[in-house]
Structure formats: C-alpha cells, structure tokens
C-alpha cells in the first residue's frame, strides 16, 4: 500500500475537514473575541467566559442539562446493557428479530417524531413536563446507543470464560460480577459517555418535553440566538463542544482498548 501522502490526498483531507469543522472553528475563535459585534474581530479576550459564568439564566440551564445528562445516561446504561445481554445471551426466543429492530428504532426515528410521541404520552398519563420528562425522553433516545456498543462487545465475548468461572465454583451471579462485568466494563463506560453527550446536546426532543422551570442549555442557546447573536452564547457553545468532544474521544478509546485486550 502506498503510505505517502500525495497532493490529491492532502487536498481532499483539507477540504473534507474544512467542510466539517470550519464553522465550529469560527465559533470557537469568535468566543474569544473582544468585540461585542459577533462578526467583527476586535482582539483576543476571555471576557465572554466571565460574562457567561455571571449569567444566572445560562448557568441554571447548564446545571439542569448536566443533571439530566447524568441521570438519563445512567438509566440508559442500565437498560441498554440489560437489553444487550438479552439480545446476545437469550438465544433464539420468539420475536427476537422484532425486539432487535425495536431496540434500534430510536436511532433512525426522526427526532421530531420521537419528541412528539413522548410529549403525547406524557400528556396522556398526566405527567407534568419538566426535568423528569426530559430525563425519561433522553433515556429513550440514548438507550439504543448503549445497547449497540455493549452488544458488539458481548458478541466477541468468549463464553468459555464464564463457563470456566462456573466450573471453578462461582454461581451465575458471582460469575457475572467477577468475570463478565469487568471484561465488558470498558464498553459499558463507552456507552454511558455516548449517552451522556447525546443528552447534553439534544435540542429537538428536549424542547418538545421541556416545561416551565426546566430549560436545558441547547434550548436556552437556541432561544437567545433568535433574539440576536451574542458572544456569550459562543462561549457557552465552545464549552459544550469541549465536553462533547472529550466524551466521544474517551468512548472511542475505551471501546478500542477493550477490542485490543480481546485480541491478545
């Protein structure tokens, strides 16, 4: 294989990455703009980060977002891992294909429809919209991502490891906690981080299910932008991008590491 970077390769790489990341880069740069005018560069400054932390409404929204992300990611991780276990371990039960399809459906379902149907459901069961409805909605959205990540690990899992543990005297539950869980833990953490970041930056489903007193950061930013661009929002977005990037990178590294360990 030719490992040298030809001119063509370099050009396509630059164009591709520019297409993907130029807008984000612009946003990050302008968050350090000294000028109040969003599109005019007035020198380097971190003043908008200071202003951001003094902005009570934005900080409150950020806190709500963080709590929702943590809680919904935790719920999604538990449910998603259980679903992955059922799908890989339970053999061929009737309706397995249907169940698999249904677990994965939220991944491809238009978010507007997911959001709308959840809203209708919450109204029907008379649940006040707010913190809990967003948390439940995000759990629904992110669970399938956890399932995908954990299931792919379980499918390459050597079942004889569990048999060996049982053979050596460990009952099924202890086998799960002392052998299965430690070995699939990296993929569970990766699934959690994915769910966490997905919940952090979701706007559509959150705005359908938000209520008075519970506004998430993406909703807040979106509504502020409609009143006019503000450098504070750039700063808030930059921090959000940072958190999401960190989450995705660690998720990737974790699942890669568990694959490498398996290969040994």
């Amino acid at each position: 294989m030719n490992r040298r970077l030809s001119l063509f390769n370099v050009t396509s790489l630059v164009i591709g990455f520019a297409f993907l990341y130029l807008p984000i880069l612009l946003l990050v740069i302008y968050s350090f703009n000294a000028s109040r005018l969003v599109t005019v560069w007035g020198g380097f400054s971190t003043q908008w980060y200071g202003a951001l932390f003094r902005n009570q409404a934005l900080m409150e929204a950020a806190w709500v977002t963080l709590r929702i992300a943590l809680l919904s990611a935790t719920l999604a991780t538990v449910l998603g891992t259980l679903a992955a276990l059922a799908l890989t371990r339970y053999g061929r039960f009737p309706g397995r294909t249907l169940f698999t399809g249904m677990v994965y459906a939220p991944m491809v379902m238009p978010e507007v429809i997911t959001g709308l149907s959840l809203l209708l459901f919450f109204v029907a069961i008379d649940l006040d919209r707010g913190f809990w409805t967003i948390t439940l909605a995000h759990t629904t959205l992110t669970m399938c991502f956890v399932t995908v990540v954990v299931q792919s690990r379980l499918m390459t899992f050597d079942r004889s490891l569990e048999e060996a543990a049982m053979d050596l005297g460990a009952p099924p539950l202890r086998t799960f906690f002392s052998v299965t869980l430690p070995l699939i833990a990296p993929s569970i953490v990766a699934g959690f981080l994915l769910a966490f970041t997905l919940s952090m930056d979701d706007l559509v489903i959150a705005s359908f299910n938000a209520g008075p007193g519970a506004t998430t950061l993406p909703i807040k930013i979106y509504s502020q932008v409609r009143l006019g661009l503000s450098p504070e929002v750039n700063a808030a977005s930059t921090i959000l991008i940072g958190i999401v990037t960190l989450g995705v990178i660690s998720a990737t590294l974790l699942s890669k590491r568990s694959v490498l360990r398996k290969a040994h």
């Binding site: 060996a164 049982m166 202890r174 430690p182 040994h264």
Partner: protein, 379 residues
C-alpha cells in the same frame, strides 16, 4: 504405551467400582442426536481418552460431565452421587478448556486462586496452594504476569494449574494440546502423564488426535456418531480394532476385501481379488461362516516388501509395482500398486544407515504378511 506403563487395570476387575458411570445417556440438540444411548464406566485414577472425529459427540459427553449440558435421557453418576440437577459450580469436577479460558483481567496467580476463593478458603492457605500449583507447572517466575503476556504453552500450563488447584475428583481436558506445535505437544503429553501419575487423579481427555490418545491414555473410547465403538487399551485398539472405522481412524491400515472360504487348522481362508490363492488369516476369535463378506486389515509395518520371490508355499503373497517411495528418516513408506489397481501402504524401519541396491520406483515387488499380522473385520 499407556497400557504397559504400570500394572493398572481396574476395568478388568469385575469387583472394581467405577468412579464415573454413564448409564444409557442420550443428548439431543433439536433433531440432531449428539450422544446416542451411551453407557460407559471410568475408574478412579484412570487416564481416560475420548477419541473420535469432530462431531462424534465426545465434547458433548465431556460437557455433560462438567454440567454445561444436561442429558436428554439417562443418568450420569460420580462416585455414589447422581449428577442430575447438580449445577457446574457444585460438581467436584474441573475442566481445562480448549481455549484455556484464562481470565484476561487477572494475573496468573489470581487465575489459579479463583476457584479456591469461591470455596472460601483462608487467604494464607490460598497463597500456599497457588505456590504449590505454580511449582507443579514450573511457572513460579510468571505469577504476576497477565495471560496476554504469556506464550501459548505457558497459558496451557496456567489453565492446567487453575483446574488442578481445587483438587477435583476428576479433571476434564478438552483438546488440551491442540494449540501447541509438535515438539512442545509431545513434551507436554509426557508432563501431563507425570502430573496425573503424581496426583493419582482421574483424567478424562477429549481429543481427535489418535497419537495423543495412544501416548497418554490408559484406556481409549473411540466414538463415532454419538456412540462408543470400542473401549480398550491403546494396544488393543491398534492391534485388535473391532470395526473398519477404528482400524482406519487409528493409525494407517491396508484393507483387503474378500469372502470367507472356510477354516483350516484354526486359520481362516479368505478368497480375495488381489491374489490367486486365498489369504490365510489367524484371527481365531472371529465367528464367521462360509461366503461371508469380510475385510482384512493389515497395518503397513506388518507387511514385508521384497524384490525376490518368496519361497514356494509361502502364505499371503501379493505382487505389485512400486508406485511411490516416501523417505521419513526413521521409516520408509512404499506405496505398492497391485494388478487390480489397489494401492498398498508398506512401511519399513530404516534399521541401517546404508542399504545396498535399495528397492526403487517402478520395480516389481512381492508383499507378504504373516497370518497373525492381520485382523478380520466382519462387514
């Protein structure tokens, strides 16, 4: 080899009580029958081999003993205890897995200690026992290593140590040496025999490698299609195979087909298409009748190849042409084509370093064998 190692033959003692008893055991997976109404006794202290081609049911049989599969019919008894309904983690049986199945997130010593910890053994006793096991498999220096840092052979030893640590009544070994290269495999075979001898434990080995079975086992059960075809010592399996399947599966064999002509002076006369005169076979245990179709099995090393015609009146003379010669160092293999088109395999030990005027390609040769070198197998 195994049979002559020591005078140990509880299976020929009618009063001996078997340690493991399979009683009319059947295992079905859906429509497929993996084990078919099988009965088998294994005695304490035995090195027992289940031998057969893949898919013959030998692994299923072992997994039923370990408790990973439940028999569809029949019972398995260990000592005085029926194993029905006893889960794998309560059986006094440990297994060495084909893939080793070492826990990748635990060091060598933690792996070996795992089973002892499940029994709630005190910490200092665990440490002592782990040390003992490490010495047994000569891995003291690698106690802190992780499985990914070990070679294939070392992993196999850890797996063995882990399975032996709990001093099980029976050790099950599933294709234990499959992943090793030939030299290491032979060494490990003898090591396994020494360990088994030293601990006096009952070993049950599953293998598809007949050489491995012959080397290690006290007795071999040859399996085919979920049934046991013959249970006997390695020597009996090789020299007195019960069926054509065993004769062909264990070692090399020449099969000559024919019809029984009759019996003379206790020797069977069998008319075949390979020679004018009927062949004379000394196999007095067979009960045959005239005209019956039989197969004569002769091992390649029990046939003699020569250039000069045998003396007149010699028994069992076949003529042919040397088709192929394979020089293996210790042995030379001749493939001799008979007039009928069949190819016989004849081996000769290379007892001396230089042979004058050796038998060459395309030469006309005579192949003979003694009446007691052959076995008659009823078709």
């Amino acid at each position: 080899m195994g049979a002559v190692r020591r005078a140990f033959a509880p299976w020929s003692n009618p009063d001996a009580k078997p340690l493991i008893r399979f009683d009319n055991v059947t295992k079905r997976f859906g429509d497929a029958v993996a084990v078919d109404h099988l009965s088998l006794n294994i005695f304490e202290g035995e090195f027992f081999c289940l031998l057969g081609p893949s898919g013959c049911g030998k692994t299923t049989l072992m997994r039923m003993l370990a408790g990973f599969e439940t028999p569809s019919e029949g019972t398995i008894t260990l000592g005085d205890q029926s194993l029905a309904g006893v889960p794998p983690y309560r059986r006094p049986v440990n297994m060495m897995f084909q893939s080793c199945a070492l826990f990748p997130h635990m060091s060598v010593e933690k792996n070996i200690a795992f089973g002892l910890k499940q029994d709630g053994m005190p910490k200092d006793q665990i440490a002592e026992r782990v040390g003992e096991m490490l010495r047994l498999v000569q891995l003291e220096k690698l106690a802190r290593r992780y499985p990914s840092q070990l070679s294939g052979g070392q992993r196999q030893r850890v797996a063995l140590a882990r399975a032996l640590a709990k001093k099980p009544k029976v050790l099950l070994l599933d294709e234990p040496l499959g992943a090793l290269d030939k030299k290491l495999r032979e060494e490990t075979q003898f090591e396994l025999m020494d360990i088994q001898h030293e601990l006096g434990m009952t070993f049950v080995v599953v293998t598809h490698d007949q050489e491995e079975a012959m080397t290690m086992a006290d007795r071999i059960a040859v399996m085919d299609h979920g049934r046991i075809v013959q249970v006997a010592t390695p020597g009996e399996i090789y020299e007195q195979p019960k069926t054509r399947f065993i004769a062909e599966f264990v070692g090399d064999v020449n099969i000559l087909e024919g019809h029984v002509q009759g019996q003379e002076n206790g020797l069977w006369r069998v008319q075949t298409g390979y020679a004018q005169a009927p062949l004379t076979i000394d196999d007095p245990d067979e009960v045959l009748h005239s005209g019956q179709a039989v197969a004569i099995a002769v091992r390649p090393e029990k046939m003699v190849i020569q250039r000069d015609p045998p003396r007149t009146g010699a028994l069992n003379v076949l003529t042919g042409e040397v088709w192929d010669i394979g020089y293996l160092g210790d042995w030379t293999v001749y493939r001799v084509k008979l007039a009928t088109g069949e190819i016989l395999r004849v081996t000769r030990a290379n007892a001396s370093r230089f042979v004058e005027n050796p038998i060459d390609w395309d030469e006309q040769v005579y192949v003979t064998f003694a009446p007691d070198a052959a076995v008659i197998l009823a078709e």
